[in-house]
């Protein structure tokens, strides 16, 4: 349950909304238990339900938007892998991850924090495995761009977020 809540919290950044989402996820899981294949990763199944429930919530709020143009912009922006400071702290990594656009950061979180395989992430998000791999690749590069900002001594507040339009 803690893992489901953690990802809900990452998606919503709001404890009350994350708790509602976690509750809806488990209630939905109870209703649709027949869709769970015994022997498969139960946590991945729950996170998939969570992701779906969150999509419904965002659609209600009209906050779901297409991101293809943003992806192309980012692909052009992240052309190199910058060096990162020799010593980075957990807080710095978390702050940098928050700045990375969500469609990339959520895949980084699913892979690196929640330990899902590429195949499981593809199932959770309902996207092809190739897309998972390319977004993960870009997400990690973007994370390093943000971490490199620490090395250059810029504050995050002063920097323009990657992919943000002029």
């Amino acid at each position: 349950m803690a893992d489901v809540f953690r990802f809900a919290m990452w998606l919503t950044r709001d404890r009350t909304v994350a708790e509602d989402l976690t509750q809806e996820t488990f209630e939905q899981a109870l209703k649709s238990f027949r869709s769970y294949e015994l022997g498969t990763n139960c946590k991945a199944w729950l996170i998939k339900i969570l992701y779906h429930q969150n999509g419904k919530r965002l659609r209600k709020m009209n906050r779901l938007r297409l991101v293809e143009d943003l992806e192309e912009m980012i692909a052009e922006t992240v052309a190199f892998v910058p060096s990162v400071p020799q010593r980075i702290t957990e807080t710095e990594v978390l702050d940098a991850l928050r700045i990375v656009p969500k469609q990339y950061s959520q895949i980084v979180v699913l892979a690196d924090v929640e330990d899902f395989s590429y195949k499981e992430i593809a199932r959770i998000l309902g996207i092809p495995m190739g897309t998972v791999m390319s977004r993960l690749h870009r997400g990690r590069k973007l994370l390093r761009v943000e971490l490199a900002a620490y090395a250059r001594g810029f504050g995050f507040e002063e920097r323009k977020k990657v992919g943000e339009r002029k």
Binding site: M1, R6, F26, Y36, V84, L94, L97, Y118
Partner: protein, 259 residues
């Protein structure tokens, strides 16, 4: 393999998403390239920091009061469904049992229900077992493979029950990871490398049911762990959760009756 190839594959290597052959190419390149070893350690560090930040940061932690309330609510809901379905038919009654089982797994993330003390201890040691699997079994696999068939039967007796026609014992030894001394059995099933690790319980895990198996994904691999006869046992592999659990079940059943 050159540095550019390595850079493309390094993250998949860390996620254990590469075929064994590609892993071998990575090892070979790393042996001769200090820059790529450094690059790999930077990538590993970023991952570990991200993982640590989100798992330990209070902001992402669930409120125990909320968790307790939701557990009670789900248990009520599952019990109501079971009662409603129970009188209709045997098939539906089975389905209701499945609901309870799935919800139980969703809530506790395990098969069986180890006590909290045992669970916490197994989780901590599972992380170390997965680390030992990476740093001992996977990194030295070429050496162990040359030992295949040379393992003395009495040394490999503990893992014999999970030996199938497609599984063989490559190596048995004692190794140390983060100060923990593991009895480490390395097996190969097809392309998969499986570590079975044993450590004495030493009474630190508290009181809990033996043979309850905890299953989790840790550092990109499946870890199934249980306690039996004063030993904590970890089965670690990149097999599917059900296959990995299957081996842990065979082992836990066999150690109930002496091997």
């Amino acid at each position: 393999m050159n540095c550019k190839d390595f850079s493309e594959l390094a993250d998949s290597y860390l996620s254990d998403e590469l075929a064994v052959e590609s892993n071998h190419e990575i090892f070979a390149h790393l042996e001769s390239c200090a820059a790529c070893r450094n690059e790999l350690s930077v990538r590993r560090e970023i991952r570990e920091k991200a993982r640590g930040a989100m798992r330990l940061d209070g902001e992402f932690g669930i409120d125990p009061v909320f968790a307790g309330r939701l557990r009670a609510r789900l248990a009520d809901s599952a019990a109501r469904d079971a009662g409603w379905l129970g009188w209709r038919s045997a098939g539906l009654a089975f389905a209701s049992m499945l609901v309870v089982a799935v919800v139980g797994f969703a809530l506790f993330g395990s098969f069986g229900n180890p006590s909290d003390g045992l669970r916490a201890y197994l989780v901590e040691k599972s992380r170390q077992a997965a680390g030992d699997h990476h740093y001992c079994a996977l990194d030295k696999i070429a050496r162990w493979e040359s030992n295949a068939g040379k393992v003395q039967p009495e040394k490999a007796a503990f893992v014999r029950p999970i030996e199938q026609p497609d599984t063989e014992v490559l190596e048995v030894h004692d190794c140390v990871f983060e100060g923990v001394v593991f009895r480490h059995y390395i097996l190969r099933r097809g392309k998969a490398i499986i570590s079975v690790q044993q450590i004495p319980d030493e009474g630190k895990s508290g009181i809990g049911a033996d043979n309850a198996i905890l299953s989790e994904r840790e550092s990109g691999v499946q870890v199934a762990s249980f306690r039996n006869r004063g030993q904590l046992v970890f089965v670690v592999s990149d097999l599917s959760e059900s296959e990995n659990l299957g081996m842990a079940r065979i082992l836990s059943d066999s150690v109930k009756s002496p091997v």
